[in-house]
C-alpha cells in the first residue's frame, strides 16, 4: 500500500503516523509539503496530528486553506481514502470534507489520557478488522476536540451510520465522564457520505505496539492496508 502524509507547518505527529503505517504493512509513506500543489498516486492520504499554524485563529483553519488542500479535496472527491487524526480531523472539517465543528474541550483544558472508543460500525474501509461493538483503548491529546453539529447533521450522520467511533466506558456503556471533551452524542470519529474520508480525534497511531500500553489502534491501519490490497 502506498500512502502520503501531508505536512503542514506545526504538525508534529507525522512520525508516529508513519511508524503505525509501516507496522501495519504500508510502504514507507511519502511526506508531502503543504506548499505542493499535486499529490502522487496513493492508496491513502493522511493528515496527521499536531498544531498546524500553532492552532492560531481556529484549529486547522489556516492549514485547510493551504495549496495542497485543493488537491486533497479533489482526490477525496475522486474516492481516494483520506484519514485525518486530531489536528488532521480539524483540518478536514475546516476544508469542508466533513461536517460539524470542533470546539474547546468542555473543561477548557488540554487532555492527554487513554480513552475507550466503541467501534460503531465495522462496515467501513477503516474498521473492517474490528467487530461492530468492539471497545478499543487509545489515547487522546487535544484541547479542542469537542465535536459539535446541528441537529439535522447529527441525525443524518447517525442515520447513515457515519459515526464510526464514540467515547465510552471500558464496558462499552456511554457516560458523560467517558466523554471528557464534551462532544455531542459522544462523537469521536465520523465518515463522509461516500465513506472514504474518516476524521477522528483520538490517536490510534500511538497504540500500535505492546510497549505503548496497548495495540488496539493497529486495527485501523490494518483495515486500511487490507482494503487497499
Amino acid at each position: 500500500m502506498k500512502s502520503a502524509i501531508i505536512l503542514f507547518p506545526g504538525i508534529n505527529r507525522e512520525r508516529d503516523m508513519a511508524r503505525a503505517l509501516r507496522l501495519a504493512g504500508s510502504e514507507e509513506p511519502v511526506i508531502v509539503w503543504h506548499k505542493e500543489t499535486s499529490l502522487p498516486q496513493v492508496d491513502l492520504i493522511v493528515l496527521p496530528g499536531g498544531f498546524s499554524y500553532g492552532d492560531y485563529l481556529r484549529c486547522g483553519a489556516i492549514a485547510a486553506r493551504s495549496p495542497i488542500m485543493r488537491e486533497v479535496v479533489a482526490k477525496a472527491e475522486a474516492g481516494t481514502p483520506v484519514l485525518g487524526v486530531c489536528n488532521g480531523f480539524q483540518i478536514l472539517i475546516e476544508a469542508g470534507l466533513l461536517p460539524g465543528a470542533l470546539m474547546r474541550n468542555r473543561e477548557l483544558k488540554f487532555i492527554c489520557r487513554d480513552v475507550h472508543l466503541k467501534v460503531e460500525s465495522n462496515d467501513t474501509r477503516f474498521t473492517r478488522q474490528y467487530a461492530t461493538g468492539d471497545v478499543i483503548r487509545v489515547p487522546v491529546a487535544h484541547g479542542e476536540g469537542n465535536y459539535f453539529a446541528d441537529d439535522e447533521t447529527r441525525r443524518r450522520l447517525d442515520g447513515d451510520g457515519r459515526i464510526v467511533f464514540r467515547y465510552c466506558e471500558a464496558d462499552g456503556s456511554f457516560s458523560t465522564e467517558a466523554n471528557r471533551n464534551g462532544s455531542v452524542d459522544n462523537v469521536a470519529g465520523i465518515l463522509n457520505e461516500r465513506g472514504n474520508v474518516l476524521g477522528m480525534m483520538p490517536h490510534p497511531e500511538d497504540h500500535v505496539e505492546p510497549h505503548q500500553g496497548s495495540t488496539d489502534g493497529v486495527g485501523i491501519f490494518r483495515s486500511i492496508v487490507s482494503a487497499a490490497a
Partner: protein, 79 residues
C-alpha cells in the same frame, strides 16, 4: 484603512468558554452575571481607501478564512 472584525458564535451553538467564564465569575462572587459569550476580535489594516471596496475585501477575508460560518457570524467595522 483600518478594520475591526468581531466574530461571535451563532445563537444556539454551545460556547464552552463563555460557560466556563460565567462559572468562574460566579465563584468570584459576581453572582448575577449571565449569558456570557466569548468571541474574537481581529484588527487589521489594509491599503484600500474606498470604504465600499474595503468592506468587500474584509468580507471576502471573513468568508474565506477569518470566520467559520458553520458556527460563527461576523461583523465588520471600518475605522
Amino acid at each position: 484603512m483600518k478594520a475591526n472584525v468581531t466574530i461571535t458564535l451563532k445563537k444556539g451553538v454551545l460556547d464552552p468558554q463563555g460557560k466556563a467564564i460565567e462559572g468562574a465569575l460566579h465563584s468570584l462572587g459576581f453572582d448575577g452575571v449571565e449569558n456570557v459569550r466569548q468571541g474574537k476580535l481581529i484588527e487589521l489594516e489594509l491599503p484600500e481607501t474606498d470604504r465600499e471596496a474595503a468592506r468587500a475585501q474584509v468580507e471576502a477575508m471573513c468568508e474565506k478564512l477569518l470566520a467559520n460560518t458553520v458556527i460563527e457570524s461576523y461583523r465588520i467595522d471600518l475605522v
